[in-house]
Amino acid sequence: MESPKDLNILIVDDEEMICEMFVKWLSLRGHKVQYALDGKKAIRLAKQETFDFVFLDIVMPGIPTHEILEEIREISSSTKVVIITGKLINSGLLNELKLKGASDFLQKPFKLDDVMKLLPDQD
């Protein structure tokens, strides 16, 4: 990606306050952030526009996380998907999600810096 500024980011988490937090954090850096509380909306948004990054929670009601992941990656292979997890996940599942296109993992609770490290260099 040539211009690292103003990334288009999608947050997918069923806990709205987590999404809000991302919005606040990433807006501080000038990124464009949207969120979806379920997989259905996430896929719909992904079809409407191309996201640079998607932060996807591992436990989602409705469509299972791995299906949301696959769908998003199918719509746009350039979109990087980071899986957020609130509990320890076994290596089997980790590998499976990696195979399905997850680029990174974030263990809750994480810091703003942990997120920033995943995004292209800001300076």
Partner: protein, 500 residues
């Protein structure tokens, strides 16, 4: 009643016929008349008369005494001698054949009647005695232990088996007190049953106690105690005992396995629960930390204020989760049963799971009829409810749905039902769901959702131990209802008392 048949042995034809006429007049049919000893023995063998009237002096090889001896050696037929002879030597010989009477010639009707009646009475008494001796043998050789004690509990009689049960000889066990054969912890109970029995409060009772053998080892004995009377007076109790130690051991072993199984399932359940709580907690920590960080970086006062408000409200949310968790785990884990309100118990499980369910789009509908108190093991009940609730959750994953929990009183039982709108159970699988290790989840069931196949089998065990039942109705694609039926009344200890 069959009439008494009499055989007459008399070589004088006229006398014989006269006796026959008299007997028939008195109401005794004569089976036959024979003139010799040899024929008498033959006839007694063949006809089996009830009584033989035997003349001592007979023509032929043997006389009446010898004939009587031979008949008595083969049977119990009573013999009455008819004789005109009264010499001492003959009398001595006759005595040795234990005759039932002596009638002197010339025969008088009243003598004949009373002697025959007395002989028949004696025969009946002897038969009874013989029978009671057989009974005595039955008791003595019986394979159940039989003791008879007096009002104080001192053993007056013991059969072979009873002595063997306690490791004593019959001689040693007699004169012992029942108390000395009972485990100290059971003495009070045994004494109470004994007292009730001898005081006439109950005529019989059945219970299990621990017996102490001579060598100090313990046997589990099932006892039937029956009041022992002499006439109208209660003189003690009769005790019938069976050794059920092996059965008891097997039951204990089964219980232990059940407990171990229940424990491992509980651990698995707690693991799942912990996973859910960890997820929720990490979310809260994330929100708190994230907003603190945001507050530190933003320059706008209103953003800072809003962030701090969020931090406070999520800290409170975390405190509530901890409180619910404590409510759930504060339950007494001992195996003792306690009186509880079943609705409150279900609520304590729901408190912990409801938030988690909301996130999975599951709505919980409570329809509690004011349920009566029940005597249950709280920890086990909670575990059973948690199993059924998490099963419903898994059945509705990932679509979500509705879980209706209903309690309804039905006479002295309470029906507790859990109805979900999940995937349902295939008809062919419905009969197997309570089998241990039967599952469609986890590694065994090749499913995405974790599962051990033990939840329902353990739940089944818990319900059964509480004297209840559990069953499932399901329609594929529509949902499943589990109904637990539990007794309201306290489960009484095993005791059978037949009121007087």
């Amino acid at each position: 009643m069959t009439k008494t048949k009499i055989l007459i042995v008399e070589d004088e034809r006229i006398t014989a016929e006269a006796i026959q006429t008299t007997l028939e007049f008195l109401g005794y049919p004569v089976s036959s008349i024979v003139p010799s000893g040899e024929e008498a023995v033959k006839e007694a063998k063949k006809e089996k008369p009830d009584l033989v009237l035997m003349d001592i002096k007979l023509k032929g090889e043997i006389d009446g005494i010898e004939a009587a001896r031979q008949i008595r050696s083969l049977s119990d037929i009573p013999i009455i001698y008819i004789t005109a002879l009264t010499n001492k030597a003959t009398l001595e010989r006759a005595k040795k054949t234990a005759p039932y009477g002596y009638i002197h010639k010339p025969i008088e009707e009243k003598d004949l009647f009373s002697t025959i009646e007395m002989a028949l009475l004696r025969r009946d008494l002897e038969l009874e005695l013989k029978e009671s001796e057989q009974y005595r043998e039955v008791v003595e050789k019986a394979r159940i232990g039989i003791l008879i004690d007096d009002i104080e509990g001192t053993i007056l009689y013991s059969n072979e088996k009873a002595a063997e049960l306690f490791g004593y000889s019959i001689k040693e066990i007699k004169k012992q007190s029942i108390k000395s054969l009972v485990h100290p912890d059971d003495i009070k109970m045994v004494a109470k049953f004994h007292k009730d029995c001898v005081q006439g409060k109950s005529v019989s009772s059945r219970y299990v106690f621990r017996g102490i053998r001579k060598d100090g080892s313990i046997r589990y004995l099932e006892l039937d105690a029956v009041i022992h009377k002499k006439g109208d007076e209660v003189i003690g109790t009769r005790l019938y005992m069976r050794d059920i130690t092996e059965r008891k051991k097997a039951e204990e072993e089964k219980d232990m396995l059940h407990q171990q199984l229940a424990h491992s399932v509980k651990m698995a359940g707690i693991g799942t629960l912990a996973g859910g709580i960890a997820h929720e907690f990490n979310n809260i920590l994330q929100i708190i930390e994230g907003h603190v960080e945001f507050a530190q970086r933003t320059k706008k006062q209103e953003d800072i204020d809003e962030a701090l408000n969020i931090v406070t409200s999520y800290a409170q949310k975390a405190a509530k989760i901890i409180k619910d968790l404590l409510t759930f785990s504060s339950v007494d884990e001992s195996t003792r049963k306690k009186r509880v309100n079943i609705d409150e118990l279900i609520d304590s499980v729901l408190l912990l799971t409801e938030e988690h369910f909301k996130k999975r789009n599951i709505e919980i509908v409570r329809k509690f009829q004011k349920a009566p108190q029940m005597e249950v093991n709280k920890g086990e009940m909670q575990q059973m409810f948690l199993n059924l609730i998490t099963n419903a959750r898994d059945a509705m994953f990932p679509k979500g749905g509705k879980l209706k929990i209903e309690t309804k009183r039905n006479r002295n039982r309470v029906n507790i039902s859990f109805t979900d709108t999940g995937v349902g159970i295939k008809k062919e699988n419905l009969s197997r769901i309570f089998e241990p290790f039967y599952t469609t989840k986890g590694a065994i069931g090749k499913g995405d959702i974790p599962g051990t196949g033990l939840g329902l089998s353990v739940s089944y065990g818990i319900v059964k131990r509480h004297g209840g039942t559990i069953d499932a109705k399901s329609q594929e694609g529509k949902g499943t209802t589990f109904t637990v039926t539990m007794p309201v009344a306290k489960i009484k200890p095993k005791k059978v008392i037949v009121e007087k």
